[in-house]
């Protein structure tokens, strides 16, 4: 039993489209993700969509069947629609043949299992959802536990961030906190706070990293507030051989995370 929807003005389509806006996501505590591979990653990590939307002209695929079955078994809804409607929902000209609506996760700091991983990424006031998704993806690659978002960051559940994460939004833990809450939480247990910084910093290569290592990068334009940097256990800097004195925030986090991974594993 599949519900068919064809009209762009259908209330369900309007509802699904509304999840592209942060205020609606917050109200509904739900978000959108698209693509068979991403939805399959989600399912394999135990996240089954509450609503599955498929293009009526899709090619058959065993993974899609598995997804449908999982949605049925968990009491979710399956909707068939046109590529046009899917494009409208995801805001993408060439939508993938499938999209899902997921319940947002718990992003409280309190539930973060800090000793379950050697590396955690921390972003402060990160504004670009692409950078945020890229950090989640990098976190997955280095085996980080997750990404902690400090102060006013982009929404990790935006379509852009979910897309850029390439599924890591489902494998990485995500926490959201103000600095005033994060800092005491960090200091209440084991954890080394490391900032990518230009202030009073040592070379990032061979610095004395220790697990669990919290790697923090700052806002794309302003970097980290000085007070935050000074609260770190280590401030490290990457060589800058050119005219500029900075890297893209997600790039800086990745270069640093791979160095930390190398040191912690050797």
């Amino acid at each position: 039993m599949r519900r068919q929807i064809t009209g762009l003005s259908n209330p369900t389509v309007k509802y699904l489209r509304s999840l592209r806006e942060k205020k609606h996501r917050k109200r509904e505590q739900r978000f959108l993700a698209e693509g068979l591979r991403l939805l399959t990653d989600a399912r394999e990590c135990g996240h089954v969509p509450q609503v599955l939307v498929m293009a009526a002209d899709r090619d058959p695929h065993p993974l899609l069947n598995a997804l449908e079955l999982a949605v049925d078994q968990t009491g979710g809804e399956v909707i068939e629609t046109t590529p046009d409607v899917l494009a409208k929902i995801t805001g993408k000209d060439n939508p993938q043949a499938v999209a899902g609506v997921f319940a947002e996760f718990d992003t409280s700091l309190a539930s973060l299992p800090r000793e379950s991983a050697q590396i955690w990424l921390v972003a402060q006031a990160l504004r670009d959802p692409g950078n945020l998704g890229t950090m989640l993806r990098t976190g997955d690659a280095v085996g980080a536990g997750g990404l902690i978002l400090i102060d006013d960051c982009a929404d990790p559940f935006s379509v852009e961030a979910v897309r850029a994460s390439m599924g890591a939004v489902f494998t990485q833990r995500i926490a959201q906190a103000r600095w005033e809450d994060f800092h005491p939480w960090l200091r209440a247990g084991p954890g080394q706070l490391v900032a990518a910084s230009l202030r009073d910093a040592q070379p990032y290569r061979g610095a004395p990293y220790a697990a669990p290592c919290f790697i923090m990068v700052g806002n794309e334009s302003r970097g980290l507030p000085e007070e935050y940097e000074m609260a770190c256990d280590l401030r490290v800097t990457m060589p800058m051989r050119g005219r500029a004195d900075s890297l893209n925030a997600a790039v800086a986090a990745a270069v640093l995370a791979y160095e930390v991974l190398d040191k912690l594993e050797s």
Copy 2:
């Protein structure tokens, strides 16, 4: 003598706006860049805009004065307009107070001074202008000579790529070529071609990098064609500790470039 433009339907405004589209940029051989810092970087690298567009309500700034002077001295045009018109030209809701029109650079491979740098970045079929700009920015940071774009990549002169490059579009050399032209060019002189790869690859840490080292990453979805990887002198891989087996292309290039930089300098 400043030309004042206020109307959105002014032909000059329409012309400047048209440079946001690739076909118009190609026809005119000109591109747009915005922001005082970026335009100042450009000027200091010898690139003065042919047309400088400033918001009439801008704050005075000595660097802006220097920019105006340079434009006057090189026979360029200075236009004053409203923030609305600037927003229309740059396609940004909160435009910076200044934008410039530049002549596109020579992007032929033949003119690339390969021995002037230890590192060159190479991107194949890179589709995302943000990734492209980020690679330019990373190239600047590691002291690379420039970025070589193989096959059908995003346009390095798009507003998005220029913005993401944070000025590195003016400091890095850019070349565009098909693989059929790039590969013979590379082999006609010194140069080690290194691919970030999962096929028959060795660990990226401690691999025998040699200058000039050409670091190549592939398309965001498909990676590099196997034939291209097999033509490399080295295939290296980064640890993947998570579910996914890939990194963002610009991130992979950066992690690799910093490793190469470390090895070549030590």
